[in-house]
Symmetry: C2
Subunit: 140 residues, 2 copies
DNA sequence: CTCTGTGCAAAGCGTTTGCAAACGA
DNA sequence: TCGTTTGCAAACGCTTTGCACAGAG
């Protein structure tokens, strides 16, 4: 479990109750939308304002603490910054699962962009489909 | 150049002036945001309504004529449905360039998802960075 | 103590909706 | 002609902003 206070301070942000809780909820779920975060954190902190959530998410993305995960046809989710990986996005239940991105993919995309003189900065790989659970549910 | 009237009819949509022009502008640019489409088409059709653009884009995405391309931190762009490919997204000028996705990547992601019993439907690969033109501009 | 962060309420925008008129087939 | 599509204007809902107060360091 990450030390959120340390993480925030390292990014020049104060370790407030709101931020700590947002980070904790995001880490537990893996990926969350703004609404979902608000709904969860407001339970333990009823005075929480949605505006505060927005402000903090924007700030923490700018500072590199969080990463935005845009999803086709839906609202973005956010995750903690970590090693680059692949997202398996279930179009049934909306859940996002992480999978490690091996070096094959990495080298492949590095070489593709080098051919174009494109200075590669970030690889975003989203695989859309139906997760195991939803497949079972559909079969019945 | 695609036959837009045919494309629309094949999808069960009437070939209206608005739709033909939207498709033509999208094909010429490769990828466009809703606003950009409206700006361009309204020139040749001043009575065009933004609501019509929205309605049509939503409809054409549903029918599979268009594909949404979500972009981190920005509004989605739309492109004509074509063979799966990779997007090089320049964070400087916002331009999106297509690159063919070879079979190596394809097989890789197919096997990754099979391990998970995830029924893969669509591969979305966005590589963010700085295009050649913007690199030159930055250097000066 | 000082500066940052929070909450509230209002403002701002992008997007959607309903409906009458116009249009495509 | 008949069902679809358009344009307009209003409604909606998410996101942002300004400001006074509270809180972290």
């Amino acid at each position: 479990m990450t030390d959120y206070a340390l993480l925030l301070k390292a990014s020049g942000l104060k370790a407030t109750f709101q931020r700590m809780n947002l980070l904790e909820r995001i880490e537990v779920h893996g990926h969350m939308s703004i609404d979902a975060m608000y709904e969860e954190v407001v339970k333990s902190h009823p005075s929480l304002s949605l505006a505060t959530v927005y402000k903090n998410i924007i700030l923490m993305v700018e500072k590199g603490v969080l990463v935005e995960v845009p999803i086709t046809g839906k609202k973005s989710k956010y995750e903690l910054l970590k090693e680059e990986h692949i997202h398996l996005v279930c179009t049934g239940c909306g859940e996002v699962e992480d999978k490690p991105k091996d070096s094959i993919a990495d080298n492949l995309f590095t070489s593709i962009t080098q051919q174009e003189d494109f200075m590669l900065n970030k690889q975003e790989i989203n695989l859309y489909g139906t997760c195991k659970t939803c497949q079972v549910a559909l079969a019945s």
